[in-house]
Symmetry: C2
Subunit: 206 residues, 2 copies
DNA sequence: AAGTGTGAACCCCTTCACAGCA
DNA sequence: TGCTGTGAAGGGGTTCACACTT
């Protein structure tokens, strides 16, 4: 199992490799990739090593081959679909984001309590009422959920998600969620990020 | 200077302390706070120690006092205002988010190129055209920017922001930004987060 | 008996540094 | 000469463990 930071960097490398491929570059050196990813050459080589790929001193890494190698490690078709819970500003932003970019990821459905939203499509994503949650998740074998709902109802919904077979949650709700073992939760905390930026930008000033 | 993870956790602790205060609890033990923050008691005690605060074996930490202590470390009035660049889905979500919650943070203004958006208010935040960027930032002494614009124009805007005096950027754009030394950038990468959740939720399955 | 404060140990990720290779 | 692959060193955050306190 790869370290978390490595998985994050691999994701970034891949995006850069995609752009490089688009611009016709066929190979990259570790120090080039490092510069573009705000990392360093040794780190890039180590990360590549960890996924069992290798390059050559003459050419560095082949863009296409490295992309494939990263994909082999990160991608799993069974985990490429997800549901978005909550179509407030944030939920809509996420749907819009992954609706626009036609990426590797698909949002199969969105859920909300607002009758005005239910039954409609947002960026091509159908919206259902909360009562359809379990049905759709199990029918489409969804394993990833993106949570963008108000605090008070979050834990209850999480319980239902986990019971329905969700194994990974991207959590935009600023509260500690209780999940059964085996479910991976990643918190995206914009307020905390803001505070961090404020703290360190102040310090940098000296 | 505190470690990054500590700053993030302090931010979370504080939010929990606010809720505790609201529910009338006047003191907490490290293990209680730890459980609520998905951390552990030793970590909480270490974090508290790092900000020079202390509790007592009998009562643990006083809720109000700890909140104040965290505030003393994290808060800086000069950094409580920010601008949002780009009012697409994500930018609107951020504005809506910090418009709704009347938090410690204020969004002084938003900027966009869309004439339909300029001159209006979103959640009480006035929107300007890009040409007003420098003027408003220096007039209000803004130091934090939240970047939610399309990739192709990101670097150019970042250059202008830094020149105008911005020292911290919350970056929702999935590209490596080049900034002068002294400017702190935190990348919020939803696609990478998704990939991380997918990777580790798969692994957890065993 | 139970919790805090904290030196020290631990662990894991990062970085160094250099042999090997084109 | 310049880059990769990687053992080894390094560094920094986390956890342990226990003296101290109430």
């Amino acid at each position: 199992m790869l370290p978390e930071p490595t998985v994050e960097r691999l994701s970034r490398y891949r995006r850069i490799l995609r752009d490089l491929h688009g611009s016709g570059k066929t190979s990259v050196f570790s120090h080039e990739l490092a510069e573009m990813a705000h990392s360093n050459a040794a780190q890039v080589r180590r990360d590549v090593m960890l996924i069992g790929h290798s390059g050559s001193p003459a050419k560095g890494y082949e863009v296409t081959a490295l992309r494939t190698a990263i994909g082999d490690v990160l991608d799993d078709p069974a985990l490429s679909r997800s549901v978005v819970i909550g179509l407030g500003n944030l939920g809509q932003a996420v749907v819009g984001y992954f609706g626009d970019h036609h990426s590797r990821f698909t949002i199969s459905a969105a859920f909300d309590v607002d009758p005005l939203k239910i039954g409609r499509e947002n960026f091509g994503v159908p919206t259902f009422g909360m009562e359809k949650l379990e049905e759709l998740i199990s029918a489409q074998n969804i394993r990833i959920a993106i949570l963008a709902i108000p605090k008070p109802v979050a834990q209850e919904i999480v319980n239902r998600l986990c019971a329905a077979g969700i194994t990974g949650i991207v959590n935009f709700v600023q509260i500690p969620l209780r999940v059964p073992p085996g479910v991976f939760v990643e918190l995206v905390d914009i307020a905390a990020t803001w505070e961090k930026v404020a703290y360190f930008s102040r310090r940098r000033q000296g």
